[in-house]
């Protein structure tokens, strides 16, 4: 039988949720409302005058083939970052889970990169792959490959994906590792007695039991790839070469803060807001059905 606690009256519950409501309104609804409002205008940078253009900013954006191309770039980038960071983290977590000795050290080392700020991580990777002094580019040069992410779009994309995934692996590792510890040993032992090998046990027992974690990380990582990878892109490629690493959120920044075009920047924020909102709804509606809690 379900046990329910209910409040008498509505003052206390309202008081209790008030802080959360306040934070949502001040830090989410108000700025989002401002962005929607601003997206209808073309203001000058100093805020001295602005002109109402209706949906003109959106028309301008969607008629721009480079903006449309940026959707594809964002999709490729986000999928790669999510897949790379989750698969590697899961693999490391499974390995760490089997360790008997030194698990603590291993774990700590793996979590470390999470403490590095994205912009700093960007600079670190940039140094390693610098076309002139980079250790990695020098080494691949010895192997006969001429690394030049300054001109090669594919290499630039690879580099920002790796740099963005790197710190994220730690975060994902943490969740996978905790989830693995929660998998009942008895179930695995029973399967082992039935003769199932390690990888078979993993795919038929462990992975389904991990599905709530996988789902959670999927949502969180996609949001991360969309919004928080800005620092890495800014420090490594600035969206180049050509436009091969210009993802949507980077374009919001460069139009707003390099081009001082706040109207277009606001319109792009609104597009992103709708896009990520829709994506999250889709994930909850269709993917969550396959999750066993």
């Amino acid at each position: 039988m379900e046990k329910r606690v209910t409040f008498k009256g509505w003052k206390l519950p309202l008081l209790l949720i008030f802080p959360q409501l306040l934070i949502s309104v001040v830090f989410f609804f108000y700025p989002a409302g401002q962005a929607i409002w601003q997206s209808l205008f073309i203001p000058d940078p100093f805020g001295l005058s602005s002109q109402f253009v209706g949906l003109g900013n959106f028309e301008f954006l969607l008629s721009d083939q480079y903006y449309r191309a940026s959707f594809l770039t964002t999709a490729i980038f986000s999928i790669l970052v999510t897949v790379v960071s989750m698969v590697v983290a899961l693999f490391l977590a499974v390995m760490a889970d089997r360790l008997i000795k030194g698990a603590g050290v291993y774990r700590t080392l793996l979590i470390w990169p999470y403490a590095v700020a994205p912009a700093v991580a960007g600079v670190l990777w940039l140094f390693m792959f610098n076309t002139r002094v980079g250790v990695v580019s020098w080494y691949v040069g010895l192997l006969g490959y001429d690394w030049n992410h300054v001109l090669n779009g594919g290499e630039a994309m690879g580099l920002v994906v790796v740099a963005s995934s790197w710190g994220r692996i730690s975060y994902n590792f943490l969740f996978f590792f905790a989830a693995l510890q929660a998998v009942p040993k008895s179930v695995i032992e029973a399967a082992a007695i039935d003769g199932a090998r390690f990888w078979r046990r993993f795919f038929t027992i462990v992975l389904p039991l991990l599905s709530p974690t996988v789902f959670f990380l999927l949502v969180v990582n996609i949001v991360y790839a969309f919004f928080e990878t800005f620092g890495v892109i800014h420090t490594i490629t600035s969206g180049g070469p050509q436009q091969s690493t210009t993802i949507l959120v980077y374009k919001v920044f460069s139009d707003g803060f390099v081009g001082q075009d706040l109207g277009s920047s606001a319109a792009q924020s609104v597009v992103l807001l709708v896009l990520v909102g829709a994506l999250t709804i889709v994930q909850f509606k269709f993917i969550e059905k396959r999750v066993h809690y």
Binding site: I42, P43, D44, P45, F46, G47, L48, S49, S50, Q51, V53, F60, D64, Y66, T131, R132, V133, V150, L151, N152, S238, G239, G240, P241, Q242, Q243, S254, D255, F257, V258, G259, Q260, D261, G263, S264
Partner: protein
């Protein structure tokens, strides 16, 4: 901030009142906020200038604050203006000039600041091609030129010698540069030539140097309804040549900003097109014999070589302050353009002297004799009276347009596009931004 300033002000009055009990000579200096974009050695030199000014008089106190790189400093100024906490003086790089000019009501033109303060001010004392960038078509100075440089050709003489080329070889035209690059490349060099600031040097300056428009309406000076025009024959020929060089390994692309400087200073590259302000860094780090040459031009183009244009920043007075504070601004700006301060700045940094007198003084000091080549930039800038095509550029959203040009040039260097296609595309994309800027600043 305003509140804090008032609070501090009243604190000062309080302190003055207390001090007044003991002495009668105390009075509060008017504070002048100065936001700039310099770090490292340049930051130290600016701090030194401010310190000299503050100790030279007691009426005003300039407070200098570093606000990040050029773009970040401009953003900080804009954000501060929107919050009504703008500084008195804001450093804005040359590509932000159109943005500032259109912001009537946010800035107070320098000629007005000077006139209102009753300060002595002679706009003709400034070097024409420096001044031209920051004056209206009527010749009224809007902002004070601060640090200005112009592109020159840096030569690694040792690298030329190694390739069997006479280090004193004539490099005055791109035709001759081509021959030298071919020899240096044939001798096995991995980097016969590299560049910094590709759009500024190989399109903006190329156009001015050959007296060819970069944009219509006098490069934007005559109106915001300007359109880009750098897809004409001259520019396409130049970019196509460089694209061919890139394909043949005679030109190495290192990045959009001055990344190539590291390669040149390390001795890897024979030729390097870079700002004259690269002098301090190259002198400090280069372990080879180097020389400065004028920027090459295309022989056979009528009117070439005209004059090159500047890059760098100027100082803008922001609107909304008291008369007393503007008096401080005027005094400080006059101090910065004084002969001694300018001559020292020019000699320390490799930036151009902004007044003719400071250039004369540097010559009289014997600096050019001791440091051969440091006067090339000055000569190159002042050789001819600027024309409508070589006065400078005044284009809105220009920082972003440069970004577009960078992208299109990268497509040429990597061989994805030919020069004509890339320049046409850059012009088309840039024009869209110009139209938006026009709309925002109606």
């Amino acid at each position: 901030m305003k509140f804090r300033r008032q609070f501090r002000h009243s604190l000062c009055i309080g302190a003055a009142a207390v001090a007044g009990l003991f002495t009668t000579t105390v009075h509060a200096a008017t504070e002048v906020q100065f936001w700039h974009a310099f770090t490292g050695r340049l930051g130290e030199l600016v701090a030194e200038q401010v310190e000299t000014f503050n100790s030279s008089q007691s009426d005003f106190e300039v407070v200098a604050s570093h606000k990040g790189n050029y773009s970040e400093t401009l953003n900080a100024g804009i954000a501060a203006f929107r919050a009504k906490e703008q500084p008195h003086i804001l450093m804005v790089f040359e590509v932000g000039t159109a943005t500032m000019m259109s912001a009537k009501g946010a800035v107070k033109p320098v000629f007005e600041v000077m006139a209102d303060a009753g300060a002595e001010f002679d706009a003709d004392a400034y070097i024409g091609s420096v001044k031209g960038y920051y004056t209206t078509t009527d010749g009224e100075m809007l902002s004070l030129p601060f640090n200005s440089s112009t592109p020159v050709l840096w030569v690694n003489k040792d690298a030329l010698k190694e390739a069997g080329v006479d280090p004193e070889v004539d490099l005055s035209t791109w035709q001759k540069v081509d021959e030298v690059l071919t020899k240096v490349h044939a001798a096995g060099s991995k980097c016969p030539m590299t560049t910094a600031w590709q759009s500024w040097i190989h399109l903006e300056n190329l156009s001015a140097y050959h007296n060819t428009p970069f944009a219509t309406k006098d490069n934007g000076f005559a109106g915001v309804d300007t359109e880009l025009a750098f897809n004409s024959e001259l520019q396409v020929k130049h970019i196509q040549t460089m694209g061919d060089w890139a394909k043949d390994g005679k030109f190495m692309y290192a990045g959009r900003r001055n990344e190539g400087g590291a390669n040149f200073r390390a001795g890897e590259c024979a030729l390097f097109t870079e700002s004259s302000a690269g002098y301090a860094g190259i002198k400090a780090e280069a372990k080879f014999d180097f020389a400065v040459r004028p920027l090459p031009y295309w022989e056979g183009t009528e009117g070439a070589p005209q004059n090159t244009i500047i890059g760098g920043a100027s100082l803008w007075a922001m609107a909304g302050h008291s008369d007393d504070e503007y008096k401080g601004v005027a005094t400080f700006l006059n101090f910065l353009s004084s002969d001694d301060i300018q001559a020292k700045w020019h000699q320390d940094t490799g930036y151009l002297p902004i007044t003719a007198a400071a250039g004369e003084k540097t010559k009289a000091d014997g600096f050019y004799d001791d440091n051969p080549g440091t006067d090339i930039a000055v000569i190159q800038m002042t050789a001819n009276a600027p024309t409508a095509n070589s006065k400078g550029l005044r284009l809105g959203a220009f920082d972003q347009i440069r970004g577009i040009i960078d992208e299109e040039l990268e497509a040429v260097w990597s061989g994805d596009k030919d020069a004509q296609t890339a320049m046409d595309s850059a012009v088309e994309r840039g024009n869209k931004l110009l139209r938006r800027f026009e709309q925002a600043n109606k």
